[in-house]
Structures are given as structure tokens and as C-alpha cells.
Amino acid sequence: MREETYRSKPDMTVNIAGVELKNPVMTASGTFGSGMEYSEFVDLNHLGAVVTKGVANKPWEGNPTPRVAEVYGGMLNAIGLQNPGIDVFIERDLAFLKQFDTKVIVNVCGHTEEEYLEVVERLADEPVDMLEINVSCPNVKQGAIQFGQDPGCLEDITAKIKRIAKQPVIMKLTPNVTDISVMARAAEAGGADAISLINTITGMKIDIEKRRFVLANRTGGLSGPAIKPVAVRMVWQAAQAVKIPIIGMGGIASAEDAVEFMLAGASAVAVGAMNFHDPYLTQKVVDGMEQYLMRHNIQTVRELTGAVQ
């Protein structure tokens, strides 16, 4: 019997742009620090990958507080991409992460094209498995909209990054667009090795007693279970539009949610704001996905990708 169970254990590995992950479960950038804080709760060795908080070429102060607000079924954040800069990141956070047998994906942000490229260059010879480029940095604007909201800009910056990057490049898409498939195709056309989505949806909360914005920044990014149906739809639309692998996220709160993203077309998933609700969640998602596969007699987790009918 034990033998039997052992042999039928499903294959949880996935391959994203040539990088083999032991399972499809990652952490969503900005919700897991650089892994250090949650390593008290989960064994990072059990995760498919740790995606770090966005890092820039120099330290960023971020926004004034309040930076976070709870809303129905989720939260708003306007951290403003506070980060210690690439030097401290490499010295401290990367060094910490390399102790673990998991893939490391560094989320990159910048105010200008040059800043993005500087970080990508600095990481070229570092022990980093992939780069995730956050093109919805709130400060990186072409007029009123961001890099990530214009297909031309997106393709352009993707191509420029690809030219110098030594690691596979994941372009992280913002959901604040009319047609996500256009953006997915732009990233693919620019040479992206993969895309990840969704980043947060812009939202707002007003304190009606004080008649003031709750966040100092006025608007913030909505994340959590409230956005899951939008995220699943966008992953599905993107999967219809491009051939490169997709990392799906947005409100994942359980292994069942993770399976839903895979069925919609994701090759891997990331757990975000719900880490704050349950610091053990990433591990539970790994375990629960494995159980789902066993219950349904599915040999490999890769079979789930895009299998919705």
C-alpha cells in the first residue's frame, strides 16, 4: 500500500522558460518580503520559487502612511515600492535566499527605463533564477498612464531588458487595462520568456466619518479574494493570446484557487495578500494541489494548465 501511494504521487514540477521548479507555487512580489519574515512559518525549501519584493537601483523611501487599508475581501496597498536598493538586496536578501533549495525570482522596479536596465545589469552575474519586471510602478508614467498600460511602451521596454538580461524575463502585467490580451501579446512580441498577472487593481477607500481618503496616497492597489474572478478571467484571456508561460495570481486563498488559475491557463501560481491572513498558506497550497491531483488521478500538475472546457 505505501509503495502504491508513493508511486502514484503526482509530478509537481513545472518548467518556466527553462527553469525547473519543484512545484508551481510561488510567492507574489511584495507580500513575502525577501522570504526572511515568513521563513519562521514555512520551509522555503518546499516552495517552487520565492519572488522578492520589488528592488530598484537605489533605495526608495516609498509613500507616507497610511499605506494599507482593509476592504471587503481584501486590502488596498500603496507602499510605493519602498526598497533598500540593489546593493543591500544582493548582499543581504539574496545571500539569505541562496541558503534554500528553491528558485529565486527578483522583482525589478524603476522610475525610468535606465533604472530598470541598471538593476537587470547588476543582477546579471548574481545567483538569480529569473527576473520579474514590474511595469506598473506607479511613478513610471508616460503621460497619465504607466509603461504597463501602453502596448508600445511595454514591448519596447521588454525588448530592451531582454537584450541585456542574463536570466529569463517575466513581464508582470497590470490589470488596469482595456484588453489584457493586447498587453500579453506586446510582452511576447518584446521577447518576454513568461508573463505574470495580475498585479493589483487600482482602488480607493474613503473614511466617511472623517470625510478623508484612508490612504495617504489616495488610491491603492486592491488585492485579495475580491479580485480573483477578474484575475482568472485575465489569465484565461492571456492564455488564449500568447504561447509563453503564464504565472497566475490574484486572491489565491487555497489550493482550489491555485488549481482554478492553472485550469485557466497558468503554468504556475503565486500566493499574495492571503499570506497576511494565513502565514502558512504557501505550504498549504502546495500540499492541497498535490492532493487534488491524487484525488483526480492526474499524473502531473502540468496537465492542469489550460485544461478548462
Partner: protein
């Protein structure tokens, strides 16, 4: 080690209008080795549409029974849901969080404890801890809105207690510093928790007196464990974690040396 634990409500009662005391017991064998005064925990409302833990200070820690006491004000839906729990109910808790007061720096000193409103609860555990250190002396001055006092009996056990009320119905009319001045209280160090205007006044008072002030700060939190960078306070020097002038209240705090933060 921090963990999320399903605790059992062993006592819940109202101390004053809108103020509740709740005791939560750890499951057998799960209790932490050490709890410092000024540390806090994240309590999860029993409501599937509210997902973030509510930061609440530890008011008392009873290692023998494995019980933590929290005293909180119903400020919104989350604390209302906590106040509605009954003995025997389960409450999920993330803890133990934050740094707490550095007892080493306070040992052997005359320590002035200043608590305002819902900043009073952590002062009870601090008073108890200082009371257990030979040579330390506790001088507590607590500020309330009106005559609905709470936790005064507990505080009196560990030292001298003065009271200020906004409406003057008990003790000094005014705030805690009015009571300090009215009574000419002196001390070697001050520990404070309360609203921001009070903390600013405390910082200034300590500077005037030339004594250190350790203040406990509040900010909206998401993770409670230092991962989200939601809860920062501006620091005077570059913070060693952030490498900008931001310290995380949930991790580097909530207790800071008043001289190190810009408030």
C-alpha cells in the same frame, strides 16, 4: 517563534463602555517561552470577509495558565466581532509580535508609565514586569476620557497611580502630562503609549527633563510580521532594515526610543 495559533476564549467581559477584556488560552504546549511588555498579537475577526489580523497589545501574560489578556476598544467591525465572542469560542491569533520594552534599560530606575485611553493596557504588563525587578520603581499616570476608568486596580498593585480625565471627573482635569506636572512627578525614564499628540508631548517632556522616553507607536498593519512594509514610521537615521529612514512598527517597534523617530 512567531506562529498563528487557534486560541480558546477563557474570559470575555466589558470593563467600561465599549472597552472589553478578553483572555485567550494557548493550546497545551503551544505557549511561548517569553512575552515582553509592549509586545502585541494579531487577532483575527471571525468574519470571512475581514482577512487581516487586528493588532492588539498584550495587557497581561499569565505563563502558568498559558493565558494572554487583551483589553481593547470596539473601534470598528473587527473589534466588534471580537467583542461578540463567548467563553469557549476559538479566536485565531498571530503572535507574539513586535519588540516590546527593553527591560534591561529600565532596570533599577524610577520609571514613569504614561498611558492614554486604549494605550493603557500594555502599561499593566510593563508595570508588573518592572515591579518584579529589584530597585525599579513604577510611577503610573493614566489618562481617561471620563470617570469610566479601567485597569486601575491592576495598575495600583505594581506602583503609585495618578489619574487624569479629560472632563476632570477623576484626578487631574486634562491629560497625563497635566497630572505629571500638577503632582511634580519626577523619574529617570518614561514609557508611554497613547494617541500621537500625547506621544509628541511626552517626547518633548522627556527632552526637557533630560531623560529617555520609550514610546509605543501605532500604524495600519497588514502582515504584522515585517513583510509588507505597510506599517513604517519615519526614523531620524537610516534604518538598518530598510536602508531608508523607515522602521517597521510591527518588527523594529512598536516601542521606539523617542529620539530615534520623527513623530
Amino acid at each position: 517563534m512567531k506562529k498563528k495559533t487557534t486560541m480558546t476564549v477563557t474570559e470575555i467581559r466589558s470593563l467600561a463602555e465599549g472597552i472589553f477584556s478578553m483572555k485567550l488560552r494557548y493550546p497545551e504546549g503551544d505557549a511561548p517561552e517569553k512575552v515582553l511588555p509592549g509586545q502585541f498579537a494579531g487577532l483575527y475577526p471571525n468574519d470571512p470577509s475581514k482577512l487581516l489580523p487586528r493588532p492588539i497589545s498584550i495587557c497581561r501574560w499569565e505563563p502558568d495558565s498559558g493565558e494572554l489578556q487583551f483589553v481593547f476598544r470596539v473601534a470598528g467591525a473587527g473589534t466588534a466581532s471580537l467583542a461578540a465572542q463567548k467563553t469557549g469560542d476559538k479566536v485565531d491569533m498571530l503572535g507574539i509580535l513586535g519588540n516590546g520594552y527593553d527591560l534591561g534599560k529600565l532596570a533599577g530606575k524610577r520609571v514613569l508609565l504614561l498611558g492614554g485611553g486604549i494605550g493603557i493596557p500594555p502599561m499593566v504588563e510593563l508595570a508588573a514586569a518592572l515591579n518584579g525587578i529589584p530597585g525599579s520603581e513604577v510611577k503610573a499616570v493614566m489618562g481617561y476620557r471620563d470617570s469610566s476608568l479601567f485597569l486601575t486596580e491592576e495598575l495600583k498593585k505594581y506602583g503609585n497611580l495618578l489619574i487624569a480625565t479629560e472632563d476632570g471627573s477623576v484626578g487631574t482635569k486634562g491629560n497625563v502630562l497635566d497630572a505629571v506636572r500638577e503632582n511634580g512627578v519626577t523619574a529617570d525614564a518614561v514609557c508611554a503609549c497613547g494617541p500621537m499628540p500625547m506621544l509628541r508631548a511626552v517626547k518633548k517632556f522627556a527632552q526637557e527633563q533630560g531623560i529617555p522616553a520609550y514610546i509605543s507607536l501605532e500604524e495600519r498593519m497588514a502582515c504584522g510580521v515585517g513583510a509588507c512594509l505597510g506599517c513604517i514610521t519615519k526614523t531620524v537615521k537610516t534604518d538598518s532594515h530598510s536602508h531608508v529612514r523607515n522602521a517597521r512598527i510591527c518588527t523594529e517597534g512598536p516601542v521606539f526610543d523617542a529620539e530615534e523617530v520623527e513623530i
